[in-house]
Amino acid sequence: MEQAAQITFQTWRYGWHIRLRLWGRNLRDFLAQLRRHPLPFLAGLIVIAYILAALLAPAITAHSPIKGNLRARFAPPAWEEGGSLTFPLGADDQGRDLLTRIIFGARVSLAVGLWSVGISVVVGTALGALAGYYRGHLDRYLSRFADLLMAFPFLIFAIGVMAFLGPGFTNLILALTFKGWVEFFRLARGEMMAEKAKEYVEAARVAGQHDLGIIVSEILPNITQSVFVLGTLRMGFFIVTEASLSFLGLGIQPPTPAWGSMVAAGRDYLLTAWWVSTFPGVAILLLVLAINVFGEGLRDILDPRLKIE
């Protein structure tokens, strides 16, 4: 076993030049394909814009996202009467610049999305690959557990977990991934079972590959595309769920700017200052829409059944 693990590690270690080259080549192919799909391309640009805004937040904003200015309370957007370019999208009930808070809010949303999808992908794919390859008791118990989790509606489950753990960034990630890995588990398990029956797996065994080597370096590269597509699509969902939890006061706590809690904070002033709730809502809508369109586009481009060589 130790020797086998050693061999697997060796092949893995020396296989980097392949992986890097494959990624390079796939990326090139992928970008060439993307140019032929204008809508996903546009969506991708929007997502990149969000990511850049989140990364550069302190550099591109003039105001503090936390400290208010009571003289600027409910300052209207620039194009409304009485508005000024100091507060392009207006200010909230504490006189904080909405645009600044939305840009800082992107950090929360993207971080939550990336972390929860990342952990779900790793945990779900690893367990699904093992269950689909080895079957047996491992598969039976994991699948039953997955079925059990699937029986709960996502949001209710997340609310329950958050109420139990208490609010906070780490707990939010935990609440999302606790159920989020299941989708990836089922996908990876199904793909693994389908791939395992193929002849190249038999050939790898004949060539002296160890089980772990077969899973990691033979089969996984063949299922990463579907996992990647599902990951993108789930990301939008996780971001919406985070916003819902923050809206309900269970997610990110004020004064940290999160879009969900910003929508909630502006709810009371909808009739007098509509912009306080509206713009964070638009920010969520645009990001999730862009991620989903991009994900759908990815599926069209990467799905081998739709691909014409």
Partner: protein
């Protein structure tokens, strides 16, 4: 020919099913010498492929080997640990398959897949430093050599191509290159030319013959085509319903077939030089779960006698190592007399 490479002794492999036990490989004895080409011939489902997979101990579960020995270079593979088996597979015994496209991993360029078996069995030596300087270049050079050896034109251009960009013949050549990468002593070929058209088939067989001559690699070729076997092999074993029914050199088996099944196989081949009607063997292969007693072939045999239904028919030898499992065989009477004298029955 030189010394013994592989010896199968009373090898039996069974597959338990819900209806009963299928004995896919039944008491098989075979020998392969260094540099020999052995053909295993028979109809579909007679245990040819199961025999090959048994040699590598890769019979799909719940199938397993029940009895017998697999002696490869003086050691019993049945007693080897799974780690030892992994170093045998690919390094000492390589295998190529019927459908080359599905056997190649679709996610990797062909050159990398050839290189992988080199990496897997440590054929590249140690690299220098943390990034294994030098290994990369050595691997690429070796892969290009192999690709050239198996006749892939302009290997440098084909190195980074994916399997689906290769033609069927090129895919099979690539698979052979993967098999040869670690310079195995024995190559198992499971119907390597069945999925290819006839001209390519001849090229691949020529390639395998060259490999056999130049490298001295022994080959076990599984085929249902007696013509291919007659042209290509040194020795032939004919299998029927999990058993070997006739075994000998090509001349013995093809020119002087003794078992009615071998005779039947030869008679049902279309021939251009004689205007004889094709005579197919009547009937079908018996159900392996519900085997007839005695000789498994008696249900289809034109010479069947009541004695054929009795006890199992043993292998008997005539001439120079020509083994036949039939009571009509000239060696049979002698075998029985000998067995009686040493106190064995049956």
């Amino acid at each position: 020919m030189s010394d013994l490479l592989l010896r199968l002794q009373n090898l039996t492999t069974v597959f338990p099913t819900s209806r009963g036990t299928v004995t896919a490989v039944n008491d098989v004895n075979l020998t392969v010498r260094e540099g020999e080409i052995l053909g295993i011939v028979g109809e579909s489902g007679c245990g040819k492929s199961a025999t090959l997979l048994s040699i590598l101990r890769l019979v799909a579960r719940p199938g397993h080997i029940t009895t017998g020995e697999i002696i490869f270079r003086d050691r019993d593979l049945r007693a080897a640990s799974s780690a030892q088996m992994r170093t045998v597979r690919g390094k000492e015994i390589a295998m190529i398959f019927q459908d080359p496209l599905s056997t190649l991993n679709p996610a990797f360029p062909v050159g990398e897949q050839i290189g992988e078996s080199l990496r897997l069995h440590g054929m590249l030596g140690r690299g220098l430093g943390p990034f294994a300087w030098g290994r990369r270049g050595r691997e690429r050079r070796r892969v290009l050599e192999l690709m050239a050896e198996v006749g892939i034109p302009s290997p440098a251009h084909r190195y980074a191509a994916y399997p689906h960009q290769f033609s069927g013949g090129m895919q099979q050549r690539a698979l052979i290159a993967i098999g040869l990468a670690c310079e195995p002593r024995l190559l198992l070929a499971d119907e390597p030319t069945t999925a290819l058209d006839v001209t390519i088939q001849a090229q691949i067989l020529d390639l395998m013959r060259d490999i056999n001559r130049n490298r001295g690699t022994a080959i076990i070729l599984v085929t249902h085509d007696l013509g291919v076997a007659a042209e290509f092999c040194h020795t032939i074993a004919v299998m029927y319903a999990g058993r070997i029914v006739e075994r000998g050199t090509v001349d013995q088996v093809i020119c002087d077939p003794q078992h009615p099944y071998t005779q039947g196989l030869l008679a049902c081949r279309p021939r251009l030089d004689r205007h004889e009607p094709i005579r197919p063997i009547p009937g079908e292969v018996p159900d392996l779960i519900d085997m007839p007693p005695g000789c498994a072939f008696h249900t289809r045999c034109g010479f069947a006698r009541p004695e054929c239904l009795g006890a199992e028919i043993p292998m008997s030898m005539s001439g120079d190592a020509h083994y036949v499992r039939c009571i009509r065989h000239t060696g049979y009477e002698r075998h029985q007399a000998l067995a009686k004298r040493v106190g064995l029955t049956g």
